[in-house]
């Protein structure tokens, strides 16, 4: 009986350990990346994308059009750019 109880406890622990409590977030902030003359990346935020919109902007070959944008000391020219939605350190 004692053995049975231990096995039951172990099985419950296992079930809990492998159960995820988090729900997936499917909306993400995206940006285009522009390399300035010093070969440093300048990011231009293009907003949050969710679900199929996110799939679209991450699709191969997709380019996002932006107007000329000033970010800090850099001017990002108007044009079509690849989109990046991965996170970077920043907090």
């Amino acid at each position: 009986m004692k053995e049975f109880n231990l096995l039951t406890v172990a099985a419950l622990c296992l079930a809990l350990a492998f159960t995820s409590c988090s729900k997936s977030d499917d909306c993400h902030e995206c940006h285009v990346a522009y390399m300035n003359s010093s070969q440093q990346e300048v990011e231009v935020e293009i907003g949050e994308f969710c679900g199929t919109d996110l799939e679209d902007v991450e699709a191969p070959g997709y380019l996002h059009s932006i107007e000329e944008t000033i970010v800090g000391m850099d001017t990002v020219p108007a044009g079509d750019y690849n989109v990046h939605c991965e996170e970077h350190a920043g907090h």
């Binding site: 070969q39 970077h88 907090h91």
Partner: protein, 729 residues
Amino acid sequence: MMNIFTTYSQTTGIVLDANNMPLNAVNIFLLDQNLLLFSNEDGQFITELDIPNSSYISFYKDGYSSKILKYKSGVELKIILEKLHIILDEVGVSDSYSELGNSRLINIEKKSLSSLNSISMVEDIAELSGVDMISSGLGIQKIVVRGLSGMRVVTYLNGMQINNQQWANDHGIGFTDLGLTEVELIKGASALKYGSEAIGGLLYFKDTPFTSSDKLKGFIFSGFNNSSYLSSSKFGIKWNKKRLYFNLYGQYSISSDYRLPNNTYLFNSRFQQNAIKFSLGYRYKNWQNIFRCQIHAEVSGIPGHVHEDPSEVDLIEITSSELSLSTDFKATRPTQFVKNQLFIYESNYMVNNFKVEFYAGHFINNLKEHEKWTRPSFDLNLSNTLLSPSLRYTSDKLSLQLGSQLIFQDNKNNINDRLVPDASSFNLGPYILIEYEKDNFGINSGVRYDYKRLTSDDQVLGLDYDNSFKSTSFSSGLYYRFIDHIFRITFSGAYRSPHVSELFSDGVHHGTSRYEIGNEQLDIEYANQIDFKYQWSTDHLGIIVNPFIQDISDFISLNLADSVISGYKVYNYMQYDKVEINGVEMNLHYHPHQLHNLHFEQSYSFLQAKNRYSEYGLALVPANSIKTKILFNFNDYERLSKYRFDYISVYHIYKFKQDSYAEYEELTDSYNVINFQLGLKFNSQFHCSLGLNNILNATYTPHISRLRGIAGGVPNPGRSLNINLKYEF
């Protein structure tokens, strides 16, 4: 003198110390049956099993010399274990059993993986001389042996070859220490039985054996590290009923980003691991069957991700000033998703002096690397099937082993984006090994022939490749013991055929921030090694000196090209005509006569890698090092042990400056790291270990860190505290 008697298939025996006093809790390991027994308070042990003749039995107790004997029915078993002051490399001081061969004749090193004070399994193994690790925090870690890694260091888990895209530095070892008891290591090309391709070395990880007991046994473990808020929980259960044996283990670990010495956090160094495994054994007379199953899942962030030249970024761009516990445990991008499934069936039958074995293993590795949220950059399935029949004959002095390995491997892309192509291979490797020992002298020799056919018919990349590689590997060794002096020399040769990643890579590898281009013209690389080991030990002092030289021709390497594709530097695979790796490893173990519980251990690793055809050195060659451990055991001090103190230890590593490096690497300065451990023993079942790592909060980046080339070198974790608790029942 001997006390064995057999009734109703019962085998009993007794274990005593040098004063004929019974020794309890001695581990009595029936090697061929993979079964562990323990002696009772009277030093006696008993098993209902029929033990076939010529079965090996190992007797081991911490602090005593271990012994191995060949079982002979009708002969009494009375074992005497002598008190041991120094445990130095096990060899010579005591007998020890090794899966990789006779440890007297082959240079085999071992590391216990059951220690409670472990930070990580790979870091534990890297305490051995000549062993280092490539890592980016605790998430992605892999072993480097004498300056070689990746495809050149072959990993086996319970007899199964682990292939998990290990060609890349950001692809870790693929499993944890869950349920493991020990790892064996052969440095260099001497591991014939387990394949010719282990030019750098071979690691063999072993599960804890089955236990013969009327009661359910097991443990619960919980660990915490405040550097990354790593939390790890494990459990294990062992059960036995008559001829049936069952082990079950589970693990769940989660970690956030690790803290650097400057109190910032390396963004995306987080990871999660969970695993479950079981082993089922059934014995009927001389026939034994074991089935093992293991499922391991891992989600590892890839830190240091930038779009510009990684060497030009500032550390502040890839670190966070604080951790958010609500978000910084969650997977972000880029991230690796790894799923490994392992299935093993082992069977052996023993009769007279023969042991017939059959081994079948199947390992499936799925690796997805996501830079984007909705689609992977690549998604690969690598399946590996190993069949291995073998026959062993043992007599008093001679051991002969014949066998073969058949390996089927299939690499399949699940999406059109790919870094390496769809490819299949078949490898056939018959081998023969002979060992002879008489008195203080031993000799071993072995030869293996390998045939490997590699095909790739990839419509997406337009590839139609069909090639075969064949070569012979060999290893021969001599052993001689003169009083307290032991001499061993091994000469071995092996080869490695090029891997599909080296032949056909063509794309951005986000894990390494490189654009890698393979080379279809690559051919076999050959290695020859001479390894000499001298060992001398007395009751209070032990010394090992282990010089070696390895010569590798047609060495396959990545070389930096003068071009950039998609913002990533281009690296081409090519072959160097001749590479020479030589060095010496030394171990010293001392304890004063007046203070037997104080142990002073030191190891030295000096390595030199020369590329005869380039002004630069080889990539990823670790710096020379001195590793020192001072351990004090409180067991014999009642005043202290009543406060639950078990042991105290200080570990120090000094890494020399590394000024030999590849064209795309940089000089790395020397550094010191000191770790402290305190062991507590609340009772015989409940243990605790407290650790303070990197006490000096040193800022250092190992030369072979995966993050060495990013932001001038991303430092390893700063000062951190870890606590591990284990309850055994």
